[in-house]
């Protein structure tokens, strides 16, 4: 069956099997930043934003994504210019093997879109569904807090930009 989805701001038609998971459909379409992890919705490596909300793509059927706006890590820096969250992850040494990083950055992006001034607790809660098996969470948490500061300093313009990259053109349902 065919589904029409908007991936990273581009309208795509994906040919999927009726029972295909969104994770598999995205990887088949070349979005390898969507990582296959536990496949039971625990680890968050497969996190993507669907209509601006983080979800586990391993627990969602691709057919359910019809007409949805999907953001994968590939869409976070479309013109090659890193998002402040990505820069902060690099600056803070928050990337080790990197497998959990796309999911963490997308979870952080969803958090900062709604809450530009999060507490450490809120950052930890936002990342609670993204497991890191290298060492831990201190560096990613620091990175997200630092990115929040960059977002705030950049002010309205940064927020408008993040709104655009999250796809504000989505249909209301």
């Amino acid at each position: 069956m065919l589904v029409t989805v908007n991936i990273n701001g581009e309208a795509k038609r994906l040919n999927i099997a009726p029972g295909e998971l969104l994770l598999d459909a995205l990887r088949s379409a070349g979005y390898f930043g969507v990582k296959r992890g536990c496949e039971t919705g625990e680890c968050g490596a497969c996190t993507v934003l669907v209509n601006e909300k983080p979800v586990n793509s391993c627990l969602m059927f691709a057919a359910q994504a019809e007409d949805a706006d999907i953001l994968t890590i590939e869409g976070v820096a479309p013109d090659g210019k890193l998002d402040p969250i990505q820069t902060a992850f690099l600056d803070h040494g928050a990337v080790q093997c990197g497998y959990c990083t796309p999911g963490m950055i997308l979870s952080a992006k969803a958090l900062l879109a709604g809450r530009p001034d999060p507490t450490e607790g809120e950052v930890r809660e936002a990342l609670a569904g993204n497991f890191c098996r290298c060492t831990g969470y201190l560096k990613p948490v620091e990175a997200v807090l630092a990115a929040a500061q960059v977002y705030r300093q950049a002010g309205q313009s940064a927020r408008r930009k993040s709104g655009r990259s999250l796809g504000t053109s989505r249909k209301k349902r």
Binding site: G19, V50, M60, F61, A63, G129
Partner: protein
């Protein structure tokens, strides 16, 4: 994993969904948030019927109660001002513990009930709130008290029906208190034991209304009626809280598994109910006598 699925239906009206449910019969399965159906990986269904586009994502206030569309997500409950104001916000609190943000953005309250996990976090709260389910198929619509909904682990009385909405009747106001308690490895992990309680005091400081429910301590979520009967009509005292805890321990029938032993769960059922009663008492401004 689901390569045996022949068709994925996305109906846009309840009517259409019910016709599909009827036509596909035992080979059709309802999909909402998909979080349980994917992880369970049951290979019997040949057809999936997505119920997330039927307009069943809503929370409506109804006097001192409310109506919740079955496809409302856990995140939807958490963020709903109505649910946050209802019964001390215990349903919002319980929903906020149903897994990670990613899980809660997908998982629905109807799915949490229909999946009938003994540990479902919204179940004890909805039991304590006397919730009823509106179940529909292509021929009829009926109301099922949540207390009569479960028949065993992952088993319910649903018979070719889908849950349309959840009705929460008018709740006691005045001097009332509410509590949701959960014991898990982390705040959002599966519950080792969960409990919910609500109570209302009369003008003489006696318990006029009390509901207590628990999960993960038996084949299905349950109301702790013996404990309720002990408390009903009496003042709340250290002694009555102790006796209520004892009654709960006698009523539960937990299992041992990789997460906790039956003994531990039994002991914790007492602790959680006692904590819940104390929290209710504080909220209701209800003194606990010595």
């Amino acid at each position: 994993m689901f390569d045996h699925i022949e068709c994925f239906y996305r109906p846009s009206t309840l009517r259409e969904a019910l016709v599909l449910l009827h036509k596909t019969g035992k080979r059709g399965a309802i999909v909402a948030g998909a979080t349980d159906i994917v992880t369970r990986a049951d290979r019997t269904p040949r057809f999936f019927i997505d119920v997330t586009h039927l307009g069943l994502d809503y929370v409506r206030k109804k006097g001192r109660g409310c109506t919740i569309g079955a496809a409302t997500t856990m995140m939807g409950l958490e963020k709903s001002p109505i649910i946050n104001r209802l019964a001390g916000g215990i349903l919002a609190k319980a929903a906020a513990t149903c897994g990670s943000i990613q899980n809660r953005n997908m998982a629905t309250v109807g799915g949490n009930l229909a999946n009938a996990s003994p540990a479902a976090d919204t179940a004890p709260v909805l039991l304590a709130l006397d919730a009823q389910l509106v179940a529909v198929n292509s021929r009829r619509k009926r109301r099922i008290p949540l207390d009569e909904f479960y028949t065993g682990p992952h088993r319910t009385v649903l018979n070719g029906e889908l849950i349309e909405e959840i009705l929460i009747p008018p709740l006691p106001g005045g001097r009332s208190g509410w509590s949701f308690q959960k014991l898990g490895r982390t705040e959002t992990d599966i519950s080792l034991v969960n409990a919910a309680a609500g109570l209302q005091a009369d003008s003489r400081g006696r318990i006029k209304w009390v509901h207590i429910a628990l999960g993960a301590v038996g084949p299905m979520p349950l109301r702790a009626r013996e404990a309720e009967n002990l408390l009903q009509g009496n003042a709340l005292s250290e002694d009555s809280i102790t006796r209520a805890g004892g009654a709960v321990m006698n009523q539960v029938s937990p299992i041992s598994d990789g997460r906790a032993s039956a003994e531990y769960r039994r002991e914790m059922s007492r602790i959680l109910v006692q904590r819940a009663l104390r929290e209710c008492a504080v909220q209701a401004g209800f003194p606990i006598m010595n």
